[in-house]
């Protein structure tokens, strides 16, 4: 496992643990945690807080609930067992592999201009998540945010504001940050990126195409 240098924030891990993040963010968090044992341990510790809160109150169950549950268990036992999916060995960790329906080769890329390609993944509408493929050495359009943007590197690397982000690293950007990530030379950079508000581009051209691209 690569030594990951850029991690999730406590707020995101707590929100994921509490189950209150938009589905698009959940996918990025679950994908990062699949690659990062440090954040997996932090996440389990936030889950432990949930366990503590679970112990605090109780509500009476209906009469016969135990018997009904045992009956449910024996019905489930008769269902055919689904084979446990093998953990993918490609570029995409398990949760992302599930959403794409395969690895890199299964992605339905759309051109965005400047050699950049994207594929939007289907999630609930409160936020969006997409895969981006940025050619080696190319820049993402200069943009700022109204909300929060998470960018997780899956292949290659990008440079942003003097920092290098490689596979497994995550950049958490909020509304204060106007930035221009540049793909590192060497190989194309593939990222999974989620945002909960439309991006705002700082030059005119991308702003015009924005509605068509659903950025």
């Amino acid at each position: 496992m690569r030594d990951i240098r850029h991690h999730l924030t406590d707020e995101l891990l707590m929100g994921y643990s509490a189950g209150t993040l938009p589905e698009a963010f959940n996918l990025v968090v679950a994908t990062h945690v699949s690659l990062c044992d440090e954040c997996r341990a932090r996440l389990h510790s936030f889950d432990a807080v949930g366990g503590v809160l679970l112990e605090e109150e109780s509500a009476s169950m209906a009469h016969g609930a135990l018997e009904a549950t045992l009956a449910l268990i024996s019905r489930k036992a008769q269902e055919p067992i689904q084979p446990k999916p093998k953990q993918p060995a490609g570029a995409f960790p398990g949760p992302l592999y599930d959403y794409v329906g395969g690895d890199l080769g299964a992605v339905n890329w759309k051109r965005m201009g400047g050699g950049v390609r994207q594929a939007i993944l289907k999630t609930s509408k409160d936020a969006t998540v997409r895969l981006l493929n940025i050619p080696a050495g190319a820049a993402m359009p200069d943009h700022g945010h109204k909300g929060m943007e998470l960018t997780l590197v899956l292949q290659g690397a990008f440079l942003d504001d003097g920092e290098r982000f490689a596979r497994g690293d995550i950049e958490v950007a909020n509304e204060d940050l106007a930035h221009t990530p540049i793909a590192d030379i060497g190989e194309d950079c593939i990222c999974l990126t989620a945002s909960d508000a439309p991006l705002t581009f700082n030059s005119l051209a991308p702003r015009l195409v924005q509605p068509f691209l659903r950025i």
Binding site: T9, E38, A41, L53, S58, A59, I73, G147, M148
Partner: protein, 224 residues
């Protein structure tokens, strides 16, 4: 008297007080009127306080022990139901979802890892996932699973250490200043959006995180 000293003195005396059932009445509106301290007082009298439930879950895995399941059910089902109601489910949906959560506990008992989670923690994660499915109608992407194979299991010592760490955390949560405690509860019962969650909760999570990290390192070593 401080609630902790009450609890400890009761345990020292070996006092066995029958399990009080605390009926949670009403839906979301009423739970906010319930003061947290009242809920804690009820738990002090819970004869199961301090029990880890690890053996019961393992008994389901090793020999489909229905007695162990019944004991887990009587303790956890009412708690899962209250959690779901506080998260916004009505009583009927909470009842149905709780039964599904408890059935999942049975079918996934082999995946419970006491070196990484307490029983309550693990059941919380099952309940949370079911509630996202039932209440928000969303898919819940989960990280890749890391499980011990049949030839290597977590050692008892690290499991015990983690269970103790969860006890410490429970104590720390109960001692949080009211304001912070309410914030943490609101976050976990779905009252705060991700942009409203604050990192400064005052929760001491450093030690428990280190313990879990050690368990993960051992597991990774075994998986190699």
């Amino acid at each position: 008297m401080n609630m902790l000293t009450k609890q400890i003195s009761a345990e020292e005396k070996g006092a066995s007080i029958g399990q009080m059932s605390y009926a949670f009445v009403g839906g979301m509106s009423s739970h906010r009127k319930t003061s947290p301290s009242k809920a804690r007082d009820v738990n002090i009298q819970d004869r199961n306080r301090g029990k880890t439930w690890v053996a019961e879950i393992q008994a389901i895995h090793t020999h489909q022990d229905q007695g162990a399941f019944a004991a887990l059910f009587s303790h956890f089902a009412p708690r899962v139901k209250a959690f779901l109601m506080k998260s916004g489910a009505d009583a009927a949906l909470a009842e149905e979802t709780t039964q599904e959560v408890m059935a999942t506990l049975w079918t996934k008992a082999h995946m419970f890892d006491p070196s990484r989670a307490s029983a309550a923690t693990w059941i919380f994660t099952i309940a949370r996932n079911r509630s996202i499915d039932a209440l928000r109608k969303q898919r819940r992407p989960e990280p890749e699973e890391l499980t011990w194979g049949p030839e290597a299991e977590p050692d008892q010592e690290s499991a015990l250490a983690l269970q103790q760490e969860c006890e410490h955390l429970a104590r720390a949560v109960s001692e949080l200043p009211e304001k912070q405690r309410v914030l943490v509860e609101r976050a976990y019962f779905g009252d705060l959006s991700h942009s409203e969650i604050a990192a400064e909760t005052g929760l001491p999570l450093g030690t428990i995180k280190s313990r879990i990290r050690l368990a993960l390192d051992r597991l990774r070593h075994e998986l190699k």
